[in-house]
Symmetry: C3
Subunit: 348 residues, 3 copies
């Protein structure tokens, strides 16, 4: 178990961490989960502050961080980006309403112990990678760890919770068929962060990773490449298919959710083209998860979703609320996973 | 004193609690008030989270909850409904902006120990009962207690504070003439929660409850019915009158405030009719509390209000700030009453 | 060292405090800074609440207060003025959206231990003194200390941090040439609170205070008068000049920042005249701090700014990020200075 190596690190993508380090975080999460369940006080970050900077709505992320740091003896400052001098990159400044990222990062570093940021979608201008660039700029200037609360590339806090959930259910991911699938929704304005994080994460643990999406919903080739390298090194396999039925066949876990087509967003296009994208969405309305589809998978197959889900579109109520669904366990594990991350990277 | 029976309960209306249980809450409130006054630490809810979900403005409720849980060793997550995925009932959902109440309730149940909600007026579409229905839907799905921070029917946190204030002043409510009265204001957009809660609460303790309102400002017959049953069982009396002067005569306490006419709101009407309602309001401009009116009551009659009050309309400054006014004691007792509720119902 | 005299006091302007009292606050700030650096727990305000009421954006002030009170064992309730019943002066009330200041102040006094307020600019109608008047009205009615988080006259929390920073660098301000200077910015909508606070503060400690501004950017004569009296009594000197180059010559510290011309605001004018003011601003575009200007000062001259700065206007990046800049030390000292203020005036 490597522990010292985590102190002071940023938590921006699982790709920055070794398999062993991620296993340490998972072990710590389980330990903290037991501590809470048994009422054992665990003030590992007494009087420490984490700044939670949000450019987007949040239910799970905000509340699990705010409760989590408090359970660790510290405190979260919840910051709406509109209520502070909004951090802005060079060239995007507005006098007395914004402040440059390097200045914000360096100021906050003087008051507290970590900065967590959520930024995707509209605030990024829908240029793929912009949100991540923005968080990396924070990390470059901050003297304290920076945590990614979801950007337009990654959602490592969801990732750790998802892996933790599967480990709890199965003991090990080894040999398990895990399906990461696109699903239809009338709402296109979401990031691709969850599936991209998940495929990298699962590929570390010997799983049979199947990535299913209609043509046009391919993901970042760099992430696919990394996933392939991981399975080569750690065992397991990776396959990309365009048939959701084939993918679900005998699956141990399915994780179907909607994401936009990167083909209609910057930098591929000159400006976001949601009208064009909507045709592609409508052409794939059949990618909806219902009981019939679930019947193709193993009987005890886990139905997973990061939430919020578009009920009636991405998935039927009967699946969401059915016996296979582990969505609330995933949500709970956000709390424990993030407490593990905070307690390991924020200087204690 | 029944205490065990309170653990894990929802606190949505005083009507859900027995007289003995309410007395237990009052006793606990006094104990906690003394603890604070004497500087005695009382961390009864260490590291516990209460979620405060607001659809409306709040000064007293939010600050008394947020300070109160902190004094108990826990923490409040203040949630503006627009900043989370707004909880929505089935059929009122908007993709990636709302999330179904059952999902929100079950997720928050994994992170913390209670959910408190305020919802009345515009967010309910002015259909009487909608706010309460919404909070009950939360309670149905949450594994943790749900607290009503004021809906369109009840305000039990105000109720406990009001009864506590009278008990402090008098020792007992028995035989006291308590006047719950309508008062004029240019602002019609308020809930009926306070008078409805108050009449139910006072009717448990042997008081002479007088309910005064102009024709057209009658309240929910189910609440009136319950109040009548209470006085039948516990002693005291209940009377409904349409003359404020008669009501104030020899009163021990008066609680005049403005509320809308339910006759002009859903489900009685098809849509809210505030123009029609305003004529009824203007016809009753004389229902203003001034020194002359107060002179009809007993010399040491308590002037009560939940605040905020429309000064110069509902009541003159001379009464609000005069020797009979106990409005700030009521406000303070919000803190102690709610701390009692939290410490008894949130699993310690 | 006078300590008892600080308990229960308001902290609205440095002008309300003796030199000895300010020295006590500085000493306490250093002590608390060392406590934090060495990881020594200092819960001097356990379970105490400070209410932070903001009418304007804030990064440093909010986060240093929220982290600071938490490090002291207490909690800050962050209040957006739009989310509570907005405190309003008599005559500016709006039914069920605002509440009179005396009522808000007296209610909050029942729940917590201090009220801190920020109000300048648009919410004051740009009538000089209005923000301060509003905070004084709060202080008049509150039973607990009121802290000025920046109004349209003063910013005493910045002041204590600035003096602390200079004391850290020099040991003493005695004989040091400190230049408080106007600087150009395309944004006119700022308060004059920082330079006015600084000149009063520095004049207590034997400094050579030089105040540089173009014609038209003079400050409040009452503040100038007080500054002159201070140097007469405590030693040092005060000079007002209209040449920035002359001012910078051999300076030990320069504090150049933009502020509006009071000649174009109420009560001098009948309404704010920003078009007229902008001509005065444009006529003084040369008041920008760059390396050439800094070269006139001493080699180790401190470059100071309260932040946020309009980079490229008030000051070049090379100066902001250069070896003379102490801007992040100033920001950090906000935390320690305010913790000193809170721990001394909030009843422990």
């Amino acid at each position: 178990m490597k522990t010292k190596s985590l102190r002071g690190r940023d938590y921006i993508t699982l790709m920055d961490f070794s398999k062993e380090e991620i296993e340490t975080l998972l072990d710590m999460a389980i330990r903290l989960k037991m501590d809470r369940a048994s009422g054992r006080k665990h003030h590992l970050l007494e009087d420490k502050t984490i700044f939670l900077l949000f450019y987007n709505r949040s239910l799970r992320t905000r509340n699990s961080f705010e409760s989590g740091i408090m359970q660790l003896g510290g405190h979260a400052n919840y910051l709406d980006s509109e209520k502070i001098y909004t951090p802005a990159l060079v060239g995007e400044e507005k006098a007395f309403a914004t402040e440059r990222v390097p200045d914000v990062a360096r100021v906050l570093s003087r008051f507290g112990e970590a900065i967590a940021i959520r930024m995707f979608g509209d605030p990024t201008g829908w240029e793929y990678g912009n949100g991540n660039k923005y968080i990396r700029e924070f990390a470059r200037w901050a003297d304290i760890p920076v945590i990614n609360m979801e950007d337009d590339m990654f959602h490592p806090c969801q990732g750790i919770a998802d892996i933790l959930t599967m480990k709890e259910k199965w003991g090990s991911l080894k040999g398990r068929k895990i399906v990461i699938s696109w699903a239809y929704s009338p709402s296109m304005k979401k990031p691709v962060s969850v599936p991209q994080t998940l495929m990298v994460g699962c590929s570390l643990f010997g799983a049979t990773v199947v990535f299913a999406r209609p043509k046009g919903f391919e993901l970042d080739p760099k992430i696919i490449q990394r996933t392939k390298k991981n399975v080569e090194y750690y065992g397991g396999s990776f396959e990309e298919v365009d048939d959701i039925r084939e993918a679900f066949h005998q699956a141990d876990a399915v994780y179907p959710k909607s994401w936009p087509s990167l083909q209609y967003l910057l930098p591929v296009t000159e400006k976001p083209n949601f009208e064009g994208m909507s045709q592609l969405f409508e052409a794939n309305r059949s990618w909806i998860v219902d009981d019939k589809l679930m019947a193709l998978a193993k009987k005890d197959c886990l139905y997973m979703h990061c939430l919020p889900a578009d009920r009636g579109f991405e998935v039927t109520d009967s699946v969401m609320d059915g016996p296979n669904s582990v969505i609330f366990d995933q949500a709970e594990n956000r709390l424990h996973g993030q407490k593990a991350v905070m307690s390991m990277i924020m200087r204690g």
